[in-house]
């Protein structure tokens, strides 16, 4: 099978173009347009301080690192908004402190581990060093006293899940994976293997990689 090692590449702009059509409901258009537009508005953190948000941004950058395009969604911003507004997702591991405490402690822990392993704070590290620190956290073996109160691998699992939710919930990243499920009006006619409606994006030929516009 031709694409077993090479996942398909999809053209950019697909979702953004379809949002303007009758294939999208008003509620869907409002939700997705707001998500695209909010990144252009000025913003400052309400929950984290400047140092914390810088560390969290650096962590999120590694967790979502790929083609390193500069319009990737600001995942840390969405996390800050959630914590500032006191919202949760309906549950947490009882072994972890409440989210606001867990995040503050964990960000301290990340710097503690970075300092123990490389002598400087996380934001000062090279990407491969940052990845090393994050791997020790994911595996539950990160050095530092903070991790005695925040179980590192559980925190990492929760963080990664939230990062994935925010990242793959963003229309621009959904374009990358060829998802256009939001264009569900009036209906999907073609349901089944290799069955595509006209508006569904086709993969780009060969190894073509298009920059986002």
């Amino acid at each position: 099978m031709g694409n077993e090692s090479k996942p398909p590449r999809f053209p950019s702009g697909t979702v953004r173009a379809l949002l303007q059509t009758h294939h999208v409901s008003a509620a869907t258009r409002a939700a997705l347009t707001e998500r695209i537009d909010e990144s252009a508005r000025p913003w400052s953190p309400r929950f984290f301080n400047d140092a914390e948000i810088a560390t969290l941004r650096a962590v999120c950058a590694r967790l979502t690192a790929g083609d390193d395009l500069d319009d990737d969604p600001d995942v840390a911003r969405t996390i800050d908004d959630r914590l500032a507004e006191g919202r949760g997702d309906g549950w947490r591991f009882a072994a972890l402190p409440p989210d606001p405490d867990a995040f503050r402690l964990a960000l301290r822990g990340i710097d503690e581990s970075s300092t123990a392993l490389f002598g400087v704070a996380f934001v000062e590290l090279a990407p491969d060093q940052q990845d090393h620190v994050l791997t020790t956290i994911q595996r539950g073996v990160a050095p530092g006293t903070v991790w005695q109160t925040v179980e590192p691998s559980l925190f990492f699992q929760d963080l990664l899940s939230e990062v994935c939710e925010i990242f793959y919930g963003h229309p621009i990243i959904q374009e990358e994976i060829g998802y256009v499920g939001m264009t569900d009006l009036p209906r999907w006619e073609s349901v089944g293997l290799d069955a595509l409606d006209e508006r569904e994006p086709r993969p780009l030929p060969g190894d073509h990689v298009e920059s986002r516009s």
Binding site: M1, N3, E4, P7, P8, R9, V24, S25, A27, T28, A30, A31, L32, R35, R62, L63, T64, A65, G66, D67, G88, D89, G90, W91, R92, F93, A94, P98, D131, L134, Q138, Q157, L160, S161, V163, C164, E165, I166, F167, Y168, G169, Q174, E176, I177, G178, Y179, G181, M182, D184, L185, P186, R187, W188, V191, G192, L193, D194, A195, L196, E200
Partner: protein, 515 residues
């Protein structure tokens, strides 16, 4: 909608409007009773309010924090905790196979678990009635129960995951069939409800159906109840019961936007689900003489197997659970009690990405590359029985929520039986996916649904309610939701919650008529 005064003594207050509360509410109202339903969540207008967007639709899931512990902490959220008029049915997959008669007698058959104090035969007329009201689309004859009454509508079309599972199962000699789904394959009319349109194959059942094709309670039993004179009060969270010295409840206290309110009533029906029902009882310290409230919490064994196919799958299209096999109800080579059903699954990107995060731990370039194959991903999962264990339980934690009430603390450990069943199913599903041509097969270990915590039984020393849902100790308190299930049943619970609710209502009505 009819409205009642708070100081008027209504016949019944129903707490919760999901698969338990809504059918029961409709039945009581149709019998001429004065009834008020309290619903913690909002009353949505799906066509106007529901976006085809998983992030926006997170409002359908219970927002208040549950604390999870044990060796296998339950992940709450998407698959087991709805809020809003319609409850969990707002986000259920609408996969509605019936349980088998044997599922109700696990103790008799295997010597483990707990028999139900009622039989399949007692629920069968309610399954027939429900499938007609909901407009279930399914195959007739049904391969594993050919004598049953035909489904009212033909099955929905098979999406790509269903076609792949058909292919894999066929090469292994496993029978499959289009699944029964409570979503309409054609426009459908019911008196008191009106016309509902056919499914448009949005694939979005788990995050809210926007056109009413899926039979959630807000488009079926809620309009039936309202047209028969019931009042629904959304954004009303029940917190306390007022009681007489003899133990009878005289009123339900709840929080609404206007503050604390109370509704006087003759009877209370608690239909808040397997977390909030026991939580409310424990907070009020009632109906727990048996010490069983909160115990025997069960969650279906529900591992998912995912794989990548060379064909275009586009897993966001079509009814997510389009295919079923019941060949594994009592599978050959089983080293466990009970059994499971097999189901094909489509998936939305955010749900899949979070599973990749928790199940694979992928991040950075590995995550991005994996997710680029999203349009070629398809899954299978099982829904398997879970034995009750008294140590799997819900308690009140010391931590308070934003209302100042104790958060629920839920402890769950998979038992040996569940682990053996999961291992059996994972082997089988891997084989099916290999036979279907999948690459990169991986298993997401998982449980689904919350069941039990206020089980029904014959006697008050080992159960919270009797077979009619009546509390053994509070004379006018009845429970009708998934908390009363004495065993988990090897199928999705919603249809049985509804059947039990209709039966509970009928038993109640015949009792009060008889004086």
């Amino acid at each position: 909608m009819r409205r009642f005064r708070h100081d008027e003594e209504v016949d019944a207050v129903v707490i919760g409007t999901g698969a338990g509360g809504a059918p029961l509410l409709a039945r009581l109202a149709q019998a001429g009773l004065t009834v008020v339903a309290l619903e913690a969540g909002r009353w949505w207008q799906p066509e106007r309010d529901f976006a085809t967007d998983e992030i926006a639709q997170a409002e359908l899931y219970w927002p208040d924090e549950r604390l999870s512990t044990g060796t296998d902490p339950i992940h709450f959220g998407r698959n087991n905790s709805g809020t809003g008029v319609g409850g969990g049915t707002l986000h259920y997959t609408a996969y509605v196979p019936r349980p088998r008669p044997a599922d109700f007698r696990l103790q008799t058959e295997f010597g483990v678990g707990f028999d139900w104090p009622l039989t399949y035969a007692e629920l069968e007329p309610y399954y027939d009635e429900l499938e007609a009201i909901l407009g279930v689309s399914g195959p007739s004859p049904y391969p594993w129960h050919p004598q049953r009454r035909p489904y009212p509508l033909p099955p929905l079309p098979l999406n790509a995951p269903a076609q792949l599972m058909t292919r894999g199962c066929a090469s292994l000699g496993i029978a499959t069939s289009p699944a029964p789904n409570a979503a309409l394959s054609a426009p459908y009319f019911q008196a008191g409800i009106g016309w509902r349109p056919a499914c448009t194959h949005r694939g979005f059942c788990q995050a809210g159906c926007s056109n009413g094709a899926k039979a959630s309670m807000d488009v079926t039993f809620v309009p039936l109840a309202v047209s028969a004179g019931a009042e629904i009060r959304p954004a009303s969270f029940a917190t306390r019961f007022e009681r007489r010295r003899d133990g009878r409840i005289t009123g339900v206290v709840y929080r609404s936007k206007s503050g604390e309110e109370r509704q006087h009533c003759r009877h209370v029906f608690l239909c808040a689900g397997a977390v909030e029902t026991p939580r409310l009882l424990l907070m009020n310290d009632i109906a727990n003489e048996s010490g069983q409230v909160g115990r025997n919490l069960m969650a279906h064994v529900a591992p998912q197997v995912w794989g990548r196919f060379s064909e275009d799958v586009r897993p966001y299209k079509g009814i997510p659970g389009a295919l079923i096999s019941e060949d594994t109800h009592r599978p050959p080579g089983a080293d466990f009690a009970g059994g499971y059903i097999l189901q094909s699954i489509g998936v939305m990107p955010v749900t899949y990405a979070t599973q990749v995060a928790r199940g694979r731990g992928l991040w950075g370039p590995a995550l991005r590359e994996h997710m680029r194959s999203y349009n070629h991903i398809a899954g299978i999962n099982i829904l398997g029985d879970c034995l009750p264990s008294p140590d799997n339980r819900l308690q009140l934690s010391d931590e308070l929520d934003h209302r100042g009430l104790p958060k629920p603390l839920v402890s769950f450990n998979l038992g040996d039986n569940e682990r053996r069943m999961a291992a059996h199913a994972e082997r089988l599903m891997r084989a099916i996916w290999e036979a279907a041509g999948a690459e990169g097969i991986w298993v997401f270990p998982r449980t689904a649904h919350t069941i039990g915590t206020c089980r029904m039984g014959a006697t008050d020393d080992m159960a919270v309610v009797d077979a009619d849902g009546r509390s053994f100790s509070v004379p006018n308190l009845t429970i009708a939701d998934n908390s009363t299930f004495p065993s988990a049943l090897g199928v999705n619970p919603s249809l049985t919650i509804m059947a039990l609710a209709l039966r509970t209502a009928d038993r109640f009505l015949s009792r009060i008529k008889g004086g």
